[in-house]
């Protein structure tokens, strides 16, 4: 049985837009994400200094407790048009965006 699921958002941003992206994430997404059961675990910046001539990537690590909570999150986002509108606005600021889902390696847990 899958336990805690991490949701990893990677937002690659042109120089000069980091503050705008951070602000949009804080004001346009975080409260709703919390309402949908997502917990913000960590944020990172890579490379670990703001660049002026090439993109940086902001990384947000979220979690939900299990697969049922994942579907609750997914269902709530699907029913709320403002969520896809948020990502459309965010994508206009990003040169690349990726979302991945991570679990504790089940093969290791199986002893492989």
């Amino acid at each position: 049985m899958v336990g805690k699921i991490h949701v990893l958002d990677e937002l690659t941003v042109e120089p000069g837009l980091l503050d705008q992206v951070r602000q949009l994430m804080a004001q346009g997404y975080m409260a709703g994400a919390s309402d949908r059961g997502m917990t913000l675990e960590q944020t990172w910046l890579t490379p670990p200094v703001e660049l002026f001539d090439q993109p940086n990537t902001l990384v947000y690590l979220w979690s939900v407790p299990d697969a049922a909570a994942w579907w609750a999150m997914r269902g709530a986002a699907g029913r709320d048009p403002s969520v896809s509108e948020f990502w459309t606005e965010m994508d206009a600021l990003c040169v690349h965006r990726k979302r991945r889902f991570l679990v504790t390696d089940p093969l290791v847990e199986e002893g492989r």
Binding site: W71, A77, V103
Partner: protein
Amino acid sequence: MSRELALVTLVDGADPDQVTELEESVVLGRHLPGTVGGGHYTWDGIDDPVPPGFEDVAHFDLVELELIDGSLGDPGFTGKIKRTLLLQVQTDAHADSVAAFERDLMAMPDHIPAIVNWALSRVIGPATTRWTHCWEQEYYTLDGLKVDYMMSPHHWGLIDGWFDPEMPQQIVDLDLAHVYHDTDRSALAAALD
């Protein structure tokens, strides 16, 4: 070779006697609770459609299907759940993405043994339909669908990215018909024969 499938929606306040008569006279799968977006029944094209005398049909969403691929794990399947997903790939989706989406769907049975029989089809008609694909499975139990299929990491961790409005790779419209019903026969055995 193509085949037909329809989702049948009754009018509000349909005459109960007529509904009973309908259910006794033709082979329709009555949708179970949890069904989304697909009306009251699935007609799998293996018997007569709703008879002309039955007037309490609000919508008869007929599609013509052309098989992409499928498999019969149990050609003699005698129940219990048939599930149909009608979906619309967005018109601006890149052909490579559509091909990858179809491949991912068809890999699901490799990861979810509860899927007994399955078929993936393109919707090729009628010209007015909004649907582009039909993804069908048959299961021995309702848990096969609601637990094994829905809770599989292959489903939520990979496949759903094609459907999820939060994912950059989404190509499937949110307007879906996700329907399932009890059955005592395999509609897919006839379709894949």
